[in-house]
């Protein structure tokens, strides 16, 4: 009986573990990998307590946090997929280049030999990582999408690193040719070389992972740099890695050593080491087999095929007693797979889901497109008209007014509008009004705020500034959401209260939000859904900013997972986006430590290039079907949050 190849067995165990982590990535983390946290300072009497990131491993953040407050454990788990994809793709591309060239070189091709020699020698002199560093630090790599970045990184790493693989394969071909004294059948040669190439695929993947690890240490990350503009105002400088992946996490290694924040380097390095060991063990295990005889490889492959065959499984049942161990293991695996497939990620929390009415939304948008609402700049009569319109609609829908006033005689009065005076960061004094109404839920805990801004630009030269794409569509959607959710609550009351908040000052650092914090149901325990630019956008993507849900507010992350499922179920693709202070209202909520989601039909780049400060007066530009679908998606997101049972939430 052939001895067990422990290298392959352990390598496979590591690989299965990695696959499980990739498959269950978001299910095994409790904090959103895109969530950032700027820390907080508390005053306890004269003493000031502050939480500054990065934090060492603690009860909430098992692997600690990075300087942006991101949870290292979440970044590790979600980042595995991107890192392994690049490594595997690069190894595949290298094989595609190296195998044919090595083959022809091995059987006497002079040009292919020189080609291999050139690449091998050149990248021996100038290290592969140094060339990679120079290429990947070009500006273009910080602007491309993740998918394109993965493809380009893989291709470039394949081109600069195939020489070594080709040389080793060529040496093997040469050995066989010399052994057979030149009379070698190409088919047999392929048969002998294939196991070598197969083993090299794994060892090469390990080698690429090592390269990625070193490139990461040198400061290279994969994909757009959306957090690059955040000023950390400490020694950490800027952070460029946005998408979770291991190389980007190692960008901080040098600074982590100096600041003794070793966890920032140790966990990604251990991740790299673990995965490199896995791939290398499989590769070296196969090479060990081939060294004995190349047919051992084919025998093992055949053996694997035999054990995985459904026919074998059925035959084993015929001789149940003899094959008990095999049957038990295989049945367990089948049950687990079926369980995974059958378990829905997201279940609707209500029996009958109300549908939003597209005609109602269109009616609101058409109304707001009229000249008497035009612009909605703060302090104008148009914004006052808009406010009156929203207030009237909320009243008609039957929402309860959110603002409480105490009269002179002690009587309490309620209103939808609260006026405020505030100073902007530039020292300008502004007067504004927040509008809010609510649906009372069974509990006051963790209320939902559906928020959008109803103002638009403060000034435009030519006067055509209706702001239809930004706040026009979102006011329409919010009013329709209010109507539909109210109808839904009449079927069965929601578990959580829902506040509809319309705020102005979106062009003045969102100071209206600072003024409304602390009002009924609007505080740091609330969860907001902010939206704008609905029914527009070039693609079928929904741009979602989930960066405000830090590990301190990790309870909300479950809802983010459901949100993503809901968006996908409604036919949209989810694209993570970081708007930062481009959108003032959600940024003001973030600064007030309120967690939530920003939902937009356009990306930040599209906003800055095509919408920011531009005329938005063409009502025909709006895609009303898309607007209705966006609103329905928001409706389901709201229902998912507000109607999920207390039991499911655990509080």
């Amino acid at each position: 009986m052939r001895k067990r190849n422990w290298a392959i067995i352990i390598g496979l165990i590591i690989m299965v573990l990695m696959i499980l982590v990739i498959v269950f990535d978001t299910r095994i983390i409790r904090v959103d990998p895109f969530s950032i946290d700027k820390g907080v300072t508390y005053s306890l009497g004269d003493e000031k307590l502050s939480i500054k990131h990065p934090l060492p491993p603690n009860r909430l953040d098992t692997f600690g946090t990075d300087p942006l407050g991101r949870n290292v454990h979440s970044l590790m788990v979600v980042g595995l997929k991107v890192t392994i994809t690049i490594a595997v793709l690069t190894a595949l591309f290298r094989l595609l280049i190296a195998v044919p060239i090595a083959f022809y070189s091995g059987i006497g091709g002079k040009k292919s030999s020189s080609f291999i020699k050139f690449f091998y020698t050149f990248f021996n002199i100038i290290p592969e990582v140094l060339v990679g560093y120079v290429i990947f630090s070009q500006d273009i790599f910080t602007k491309i999408s993740l998918k394109l970045a993965i493809l380009m990184t893989s291709l470039i790493l394949a081109i600069i690193g195939w020489g070594k693989l080709a040389k080793s394969l060529r040496d093997e071909v040469e050995k066989i040719v010399i052994k057979e004294q030149g009379n070698v059948d190409k088919k047999i040669l392929y048969k002998k070389i294939f196991p070598q190439a197969f083993a090299n695929f794994f060892t090469e993947t390990g080698r690429v992972l090592t390269t990625l690890c070193i490139l990461g240490v040198l400061g290279i990350s994969v994909g757009m740099s959306k957090f690059g503009n955040i000023d950390l105002s400490n020694d950490w400088g800027s952070m460029y890695n946005y998408y979770p992946e291991w190389s980007g996490m190692l960008n901080l290694m040098r600074k982590a050593i100096i600041s003794e924040s070793y966890w920032l380097a140790i966990f990604p390095l251990l991740g790299f080491a673990f995965s490199i060991i896995g791939f290398n063990l499989i590769g070296e295990g196969i090479l060990y087999d081939i060294e004995e005889d190349y047919t051992v490889f084919y025998e093992r492959m055949k053996g694997i095929g035999y054990h995985l065959s459904p026919k074998t499984y059925l035959n084993e049942w015929k001789n149940f007693k003899y094959n008990l161990k095999n049957i038990l293991i295989k049945s367990l695996v089948i049950i687990i797979i079926v369980f995974i497939i059958m378990t829905p990620v997201y279940e609707r929390p209500v029996e009958k889901l109300h549908k939003v009415n597209g005609d109602n939304i269109t009616k609101h948008v058409e109304e707001l497109a009229k000249d008497n609402y035009s612009g909605r700049a703060m302090g104008t009569k148009e914004i006052e008209e808009t406010r009156a319109y929203i207030e009237k609609e909320l009243k008609d829908i039957g929402l309860m007014p959110a603002f409480e006033e105490e009269g002179k005689n002690g009587n309490k009065t309620y209103s939808y509008t609260r006026e405020y005076t505030s100073k902007t960061n530039d020292g300008e004094t502004i007067k504004g009004k927040n509008i809010a109404g609510y649906i009372r839920g069974r509990t006051g805990n963790y209320p939902l705020i559906i928020v959008t801004n109803y103002d638009y630009l403060t000034n435009m030269e030519d006067g055509e500034y209706k702001g239809l794409d930004e706040s026009g569509t979102s006011i329409g959607a919010a009013l329709e959401l209010a109507r539909t959710l109210k109808a839904q609550s009449l079927d069965r009351n929601s578990n959580r209260s829902i506040i509809f908040l319309f705020t102005d000052s979106s062009k003045y650092d969102g100071v209206g939000i600072d003024e409304v914090i602390g009002e009924k149901y609007i505080d740091i325990s609330s969860f907001y859904i902010y939206f704008n630019y609905l029914g527009v956008g070039k693609d079928n993507k929904v741009y979602l900013n989930t960066s405000t849900i830090s590990s301190g507010n990790a309870v909300f992350y479950d809802h983010v997972k459901y949100t993503k499922e809901i968006i996908k179920n409604n036919g949209f693709k989810v694209e993570p986006e970081y708007f930062g202070d481009t959108l003032k209202v959600p940024d003001a909520l973030f600064k007030n430590r309120v967690s939530g989601i920003t939902f937009s039909g356009i990306s930040k780049d599209e906003y800055l290039s095509d919408y920011h400060g531009k005329k938005q007066d063409n009502i025909n530009k709006i895609d009303y079907n898309k607007l209705e679908a966006h609103t329905q998606t928001l409706m389901e997101m709201a229902v998912s949050y507000a109607w999920r049972s207390q039991y499911a939430w655990g509080y």
């Binding site: 100038i126 120079v134 070009q138 690890c213 070193i214």
Partner: protein, 286 residues
């Protein structure tokens, strides 16, 4: 190296159209290459972006890197060959799967992890506050110790592997068996045949050892803020001083080639096998 000299907008990405655009003509590319080489040979490696002589700017960094590389080579040979010879007995018996397993695990540990662990051990054992060097290019002998140790780990492993493989191959060769049969003493066999052949084989594999040292040099210099050529290259690249970057890349290539040539000459002096005879397929053992 051409990529380093390209203007930042040479290749751009249109985020709204989602297309990559190349904004440079072949003529412009040719001019950049020509200018780069022209600058390189203008005086001492040309001038940097501030108008200073590049060679004068990089000279102290060159010295530090050269000391680091040469020390690593010496340590790798001095330690790698005896370790390899010591391991030969184990390696001669057919390599078991468990040995493959452990070897693979050790080989798979990424260099930055080993450096970090080494760093933490040294901090703990010697009670140092910090080992990293910052904002200085004048360093003392003590400052070389940790970078040299960190840089030498993998080359020592590689040198010992080359040595043990070479000893095994030499042991099984016909001429050594003949020498044994003719009654040559073990000391004579070791002195006249074995050590010489092992050394020649090591020289033969030297370019791969050098490649390993150069690749690891990037990590060691960067992580320890070592004032060497690699750090200077990265710093110049970040500061968009492309003439200095180009010159440093040229100097690194030159160091690699010179060291390789030196070792090839040593090998050719010691090696009794004529290269031409080998290339024509007739191995002649003198």
């Amino acid at each position: 190296m051409i990529i380093m000299k390209l203007p930042q907008n040479a290749i751009s990405y249109n985020t709204t159209e989602k297309k990559i655009k190349i904004n440079i003509s072949w003529r412009e590319l040719g001019r950049i290459i020509k200018d780069s080489y022209k600058n390189l040979f203008k005086g001492s490696l040309g001038v940097d972006s501030k108008g200073n002589c590049v060679w004068r700017e990089i000279k102290p960094f060159f010295k530090n890197t050269l000391i680091l590389i040469l020390s690593t080579i010496v340590i790798s040979i001095l330690l790698g060959i005896p370790i390899g010879a010591y391991n030969t007995k184990k390696a001669r018996t057919k390599e078991g799967i468990r040995r493959t397993l452990w070897k693979t695990i050790l080989k798979s540990l990424p260099e930055p992890l080993i450096i970090l662990v080494l760093y933490l051990i040294i901090l703990k054992v010697f009670n140092f506050k910090s080992i990293v060097l910052r904002n200085t290019f004048k360093i003392s002998f003590k400052d070389y110790i940790v970078p040299i140790i960190a840089l030498s780990i993998f080359p020592i492993m590689k040198a010992s592997k080359i040595t043990s493989e070479s000893i095994i191959a030499t042991y099984d060769s016909q001429y050594l068996i003949s020498a044994k049969l003719k009654g040559a003493s073990n000391v004579k066999i070791f002195k006249d045949h074995l050590i010489k052949n092992v050394f020649i084989d090591s020289m033969e594999e030297f370019s791969s050892l050098m490649a390993l040292i150069f690749a690891n040099l990037v990590v060691v210099e960067y992580l320890f803020y070592f004032p060497g050529l690699i750090n200077k290259l990265i710093e110049s690249y970040v500061n968009k001083d492309m003439n200095t970057v180009f010159s440093i890349a040229f100097v690194i290539g030159l160091i690699f080639i010179i060291i390789n040539v030196v070792f090839r000459i040593i090998k050719n002096v010691i090696d009794p096998i004529n290269d031409e005879d080998v290339s024509s397929g007739n191995k002649v053992i003198i």
